[in-house]
C-alpha cells in the first residue's frame, strides 16, 4: 500500500505511481496483483498555473474522460499529437489493468444464447458496471468515449422484450468493435443485431401479401437518427420504401434449445417488388441484398456525412457546432468512405478543437467519471454509483427512446443539485463500493499551508480565480467536494 505521501504527490504535490486504497476481499488481492503487473512511471511535474485551461488538460478533457493523476505528465511528455495518435489506435495500447478488472464480470464472456439464463437486472447491472469501469480505468480512453457516443447514437432501451438480454450483446458485437472503424460496418452490424431487430420491430417487419403494410419503425429511425438526420432530405415515402427493403429479417430464440439465438432472412416475408429510395432504384428480386443496397444509399448520402460530422463536432468541439468544423469533418467523412478514425483524427487536430476549451457542459456520466478520475477514487462501478447517475438523468443504458441521451447542454443544466450531492457523498466516502483516500484528501485542505491549491489546479486545469481561492480556503473539509461541485468542474 502506498502511503499518504504518495497520494499527495499524485494529486498535486508531484507525480507518482498509481494510488491504491484498500478495498475489501478479492478486490484488494487483485489490486496488489495489478500493481505488480503494471507499475506506472515515476516523475514530477508542476500543476497547471495558467489563467485558462492549458492544452494538455484540454485534450484529456475531450479525448479522455478527464485527466487522472499521472495522465497530465504522460501526455506532456509524449506530446499532444502523439497522444491523439495513440488513442486513435486503441489496439496498440496495453490495457491489462482495466481488462483484468472488467474480466471479473463473468457475463461479459457469455455467448448470446447463454445470456438468456441470466436475469435481465443482472445483465443491466453488469453492462453499466463494465462501462463505468472502462471509462474510469481504461487507457483506451478515446475508444470508451466513442463507444459511449455510438451507444447513444444507436440507443436501444433494454426494457423491451428480448432487448432485456440482447442489449448486452449489442454493446460488444456492434458498438465496441466498430467504434473507431467504418461507419457503414457499424450500421450494417446494428441492422442485423438481435437487440435492434427487436427494439425497433425489424424482426416483425414483414410483407406476405402485396397489400401488406410493413412495420416502418426501424426504417424511420435508420433514416432519421442513424444516417441522414431528420432534415436530411428524405420523405415519408422514402421511409416506407426503406421499410419494404428491410422486410423479411427475423430474429429467433429457441427456448427449448437454450443456446440458440439466430438472425435470419426469410424470403417469404420479404417484399420482392422494386423500390425507390431517395431517388435511387432498388431492383425487384434483390432479396436479402436489399439491405446492403439500402445501406449503400444511406451511408454514402451527403446528409449522412453532415449528420454524423455535426454530432461528432457537438460532442468534441462545441455546441452549437461551429459550421466550419462540421463542413470540414463531413468532407473527411465522405472522402474516407465513412472512416470514423480518419474523421476524428481530422477533428482533433483542427483549429476549432484546439481553440474551444472548457465550453462543453459535462453530461452527468462525464461529470461523475471525470470526478472519480480527478481525485483517483477507487470504484467497483456498482449499483450505488448508478443510483447517483439515475438521479442526474443519465444512468447507463437507461435512456427510454432511440435517440439516446441528448448531446445538447440545456436539458442537463437542471441537474446541479444531484451533482453537488454526488461530490459531497464521494468525498465523504458515502458511496458504497467507491472509496477515496480520506487521509490523503485531508492534506488538500486549505490549512495545509502554501501550495495547498495544487490539487485544485490539477482538477480544473488552470489556476484558481480569487473567488475560488477564497471560497475553498474557507470551506474546511468540504473544499474538495466544493471544487468538484463548482461551476468550473461542470465544463470540459
Amino acid at each position: 500500500m502506498p502511503d499518504r505521501r504518495t497520494f499527495l504527490r499524485e494529486i498535486g504535490w508531484g507525480g507518482s505511481s498509481l494510488v491504491l486504497v484498500g478495498l475489501a476481499g478479492c478486490d484488494r488481492a487483485n489490486e496488489s496483483l495489478l500493481a505488480l503487473l503494471a507499475p506506472e512511471p515515476e516523475g514530477d511535474r508542476r500543476p497547471p498555473d495558467g489563467a485558462g485551461i492549458d492544452a494538455v488538460t484540454h485534450v484529456l478533457n475531450r479525448v479522455a474522460w478527464g485527466p487522472r493523476p499521472g495522465d497530465y505528465r504522460r501526455v506532456e511528455g509524449m506530446g499532444i499529437d502523439a497522444f491523439i495518435d495513440e488513442q486513435l489506435h486503441p489496439e496498440t495500447i496495453a490495457d491489462r489493468r482495466c481488462e483484468l478488472r472488467v474480466n471479473e464480470i463473468e457475463t461479459l464472456q457469455l455467448p448470446r444464447g447463454e445470456l438468456y439464463e441470466c436475469s435481465p437486472a443482472e445483465l443491466q447491472r453488469d453492462l453499466a458496471r463494465a462501462k463505468l469501469l472502462r471509462c474510469v480505468y481504461s487507457r483506451r480512453q478515446l475508444l470508451e468515449v466513442m463507444a459511449d457516443f455510438w451507444s447513444d447514437h444507436l440507443n436501444i432501451a433494454a426494457q423491451k422484450g428480448e432487448c432485456r438480454w440482447m442489449r448486452f450483446a449489442d454493446e460488444r458485437e456492434v458498438v465496441r468493435p466498430h467504434a473507431l472503424g467504418r461507419f457503414r460496418d457499424l450500421i450494417r452490424a446494428s441492422a442485423v443485431s438481435p437487440a435492434m431487430l427487436v427494439y425497433l420491430d425489424g424482426h416483425d417487419n414483414k410483407v406476405v401479401h402485396p397489400e401488406d403494410r410493413p412495420n416502418e419503425n426501424y426504417a424511420r429511425e435508420l433514416l432519421e437518427l442513424h444516417t441522414l438526420g431528420v432534415h436530411g432530405g428524405y420523405t415519408q415515402r422514402d421511409v416506407m420504401e426503406a421499410a419494404r427493403c428491410l422486410s423479411g429479417w427475423t430474429y429467433g430464440h429457441d427456448w427449448r434449445r437454450f443456446f440458440t439465438s439466430r438472425v435470419a432472412f426469410d424470403p417469404e416475408r420479404h417484399d420482392r417488388g422494386e423500390k425507390e429510395v431517395l431517388g435511387i432504384r432498388v431492383p425487384a428480386g434483390g432479396g436479402a441484398d436489399d439491405l446492403d443496397r439500402l445501406l449503400d444509399i444511406l451511408c454514402a448520402h451527403p446528409s449522412t456525412a453532415r449528420h454524423i460530422a455535426a454530432k461528432l463536432v457537438r460532442a468534441f468541439v462545441g455546441d452549437p457546432p461551429p459550421p466550419g468544423a462540421v463542413s470540414s469533418a463531413a468532407a473527411v467523412f465522405a472522402s474516407s468512405g465513412g472512416d470514423v478514425r480518419a474523421t476524428l483524427g481530422h477533428l482533433l487536430r483542427s483549429p476549432e478543437f484546439a481553440e474551444r476549451r472548457g465550453n462543453l457542459f459535462k453530461r452527468p456520466q462525464r461529470f461523475v467519471v471525470s470526478a472519480l478520475r480527478a481525485i483517483d477514487a477507487r470504484t467497483n462501478g456498482g449499483a450505488e454509483l448508478v443510483v447517483h447517475l439515475r438521479r442526474m438523468g443519465q444512468a447507463p443504458y437507461e435512456h427510454p427512446s432511440p435517440d439516446g441521451y441528448p448531446l445538447e447542454q440545456e436539458p442537463w443544466i437542471a441537474t446541479l443539485l444531484w451533482r453537488w450531492n454526488f461530490a459531497l457523498d464521494l468525498v465523504r466516502n458515502r458511496i458504497p463500493g467507491t472509496r477515496v483516500d480520506r487521509d490523503a484528501l485531508a492534506g488538500a485542505r486549505p490549512s495545509a499551508g502554501s501550495g495547498w491549491d495544487a490539487p485544485y489546479r490539477n482538477i480544473l486545469g488552470r489556476s484558481l480565480t480569487p473567488l475560488e481561492r477564497e471560497v475553498l480556503s474557507g470551506a474546511g473539509d468540504d473544499a474538495l467536494a466544493l471544487a468538484l461541485a463548482a461551476p468550473a468542474f461542470q465544463w470540459h
Binding site: 426494457q159 423491451k160 425497433l200 420491430d201 416483425d204 417487419n205 414483414k206 410483407v207 406476405v208 401488406d212 403494410r213 410493413p214 412495420n215 416502418e216 419503425n217 424511420r220 432519421e224 437518427l225 431528420v230 415519408q236 421511409v239 416506407m240 457542459f361 439515475r390 438521479r391 442526474m392 438523468g393 443519465q394 427510454p400 427512446s401 435517440d403 441528448p406 440545456e410 436539458p411 442537463w412 443544466i413 437542471a414 441537474t415 446541479l416 443539485l417 453537488w420 450531492n421 459531497l424 480565480t465 473567488l467 475560488e468 471560497v471 474557507g474 470551506a475 468540504d478 466544493l482 461541485a485 463548482a486 461551476p487 461542470q490
Partner: protein
C-alpha cells in the same frame, strides 16, 4: 383561498394512439382498418354515439359527464416529420423558435417570483421550459436537499455560482432557492386527501408530488410531467392491443387520484394531457400502428367552459374515417391546433395575456 393558478402539463411521450383512447366505434372504417388493434365496442363507454372512451379510462368518465373533462379529437401540430423527437420539440417549442412555450409563458407573466414558478417532475428539463427564468426539476420533494441541509454549503455554492452570468448561474440560483423553500415541505408528508390512491409508478408518484406543491400554495405556476408508461410505452408499433389497456389504466387512475387529492384546491388547477402525434389509421403487419398525425388531448378543469372548451362533448373536426378524409399516408387529420387549446387555458390563468407572446404566429395561422 389563494387565487394562484397552476397549470399541469402531462405529456404522453411516444405518440399515443387517439383512436384507442377515445375510439370512433361508430365508424365502420375504423373497424375495417384495425382488425387486431381496434377497441371493441364492448370494451368502451359510449360518449356520443360515435366516440367511446376506452374502458380502461373508466375513472375519467364521470369527469366528462360532470362537465370538467374536455376531450379534443384531432388535436396536433403542423409538424410533418412524423419523428418523435422533432414533433415533441416542435410542440414544446411551439414552432421553430428557440425556447419553450412554457418558458415564454412564465416570462410573459413578468419577472419570476420564485424558484418554484415552474416545476418539472423528472430528471431533466423538458423542452417546453427551455429558456425559462425559473424552473426546478426533481422527482421527489423529499430528496431535494443539498448535503443534508447544511446552510454553510449552500452559501459556498451560491458564491461560487453567483459569478456565472449564463444559464448555469441561473440554474444554481433556482436550485439553491428551491432547496431552501422546499425544506418545510420535506418535513411533512401527509397522506393524499379523500383516500386518493395513485398508481405506484413514476407518473403516479410524480402527480402526487405536484398535488403536494399545489396544496402548499407556494406559487407554482406551471408543472410538467411525462408519462412514458411501462412496457413499450405509447410507441405501439407492435402488438398494440396488448399494451394499451395498462397504459390507459395508469393514466386514468393517476389523473383521477390527482383530482381527488387536490380537494379544495381543484378550482386553481388545470390539467392538460397531450402527445406529439397520433398513429396511422390502418394497422401494420405486426399488429401495431405507425406514426400518424392527429390525436387526442384532454383538458381537466373544474370549469372547463372557462378555458374555451365545450363541457361534456367530444370536440373533433372529423367524424368520418373513410379514406378520402385521411391525410398523408392515411392519418387522422389535425383539425384542432393544440396551441389554441393551450391558449384558452392560459387565457384563464393569466387574463390579459396576449397568446402571441407565447405562441408566435398563432393569430395568422388561425386567420388562414
Amino acid at each position: 383561498m389563494s387565487s394562484e393558478q397552476t397549470l399541469v402539463v402531462v405529456f404522453l411521450r411516444g405518440g399515443a394512439d387517439g383512436l384507442s383512447i377515445v375510439a370512433p366505434v361508430g365508424d365502420d372504417a375504423y373497424h375495417r382498418a384495425r382488425p387486431s388493434t381496434r377497441v371493441a365496442p364492448a370494451d368502451t363507454i359510449d360518449l356520443d354515439g360515435y366516440f367511446a372512451l376506452h374502458r380502461a379510462l373508466e375513472p375519467l368518465h364521470r369527469h366528462f359527464v360532470e362537465g370538467r373533462l374536455a376531450i379534443l379529437h384531432g388535436a396536433g401540430s403542423a409538424d410533418t416529420t412524423r419523428s418523435h423527437f422533432e414533433a415533441q420539440d416542435f410542440m414544446e417549442h411551439a414552432g421553430d423558435t428557440g425556447g419553450g412555450w412554457l418558458a415564454r409563458y412564465l416570462r410573459a407573466r413578468g419577472p419570476a417570483s420564485s424558484a418554484l414558478d415552474a416545476v418539472a417532475i423528472g430528471a431533466v428539463q423538458p423542452e417546453s421550459l427551455r429558456g425559462s427564468p425559473g424552473g426546478a426539476v426533481f422527482e421527489s420533494i423529499r430528496e431535494f436537499a443539498v448535503g443534508g441541509d447544511d446552510p454553510a454549503l449552500l452559501e459556498h455554492l451560491a458564491r461560487l455560482y453567483a459569478v456565472d452570468p449564463g444559464p448555469l448561474g441561473a440554474a444554481a440560483t433556482v436550485t439553491i432557492e428551491a432547496a431552501r423553500r422546499l425544506r418545510a415541505l420535506r418535513l411533512v408528508d401527509e397522506p393524499p386527501a379523500n383516500g386518493a390512491s395513485y398508481p405506484d409508478t413514476r407518473f403516479g408518484r410524480g402527480l402526487r408530488e405536484i398535488a403536494r406543491l399545489v396544496k402548499a400554495e407556494i406559487g407554482v405556476t406551471a408543472t410538467t410531467i411525462d408519462m412514458v408508461g411501462g412496457g413499450l410505452g405509447w410507441d405501439t408499433h407492435f402488438l398494440q392491443a396488448q399494451f394499451v389497456p395498462d397504459l390507459l389504466r395508469e393514466l386514468g387512475e393517476g389523473l383521477d387520484a390527482f383530482w381527488r387529492d387536490l380537494d379544495r384546491h381543484r378550482e386553481r388547477v388545470t390539467t392538460v394531457v397531450m402527445t406529439e402525434f397520433g398513429r396511422r389509421v390502418a394497422e401494420n403487419t405486426s399488429f401495431g400502428t405507425d406514426h400518424g398525425s392527429g390525436s387526442v388531448m384532454f383538458v381537466l378543469d373544474e370549469n372547463v367552459g372557462t378555458v374555451g372548451r365545450r363541457p361534456a362533448a367530444v370536440e373533433s373536426g372529423w367524424r368520418d374515417l373513410s379514406d378520402e378524409r385521411l391525410v398523408g399516408p392515411g392519418d387522422v387529420p389535425v383539425t384542432i391546433d393544440y396551441r389554441n387549446v393551450l391558449a384558452g387555458v392560459l387565457g384563464r390563468h393569466a387574463p390579459g395575456l396576449d397568446p402571441e407572446q407565447v405562441f408566435p404566429g398563432l393569430r395568422s395561422a388561425n386567420a388562414s
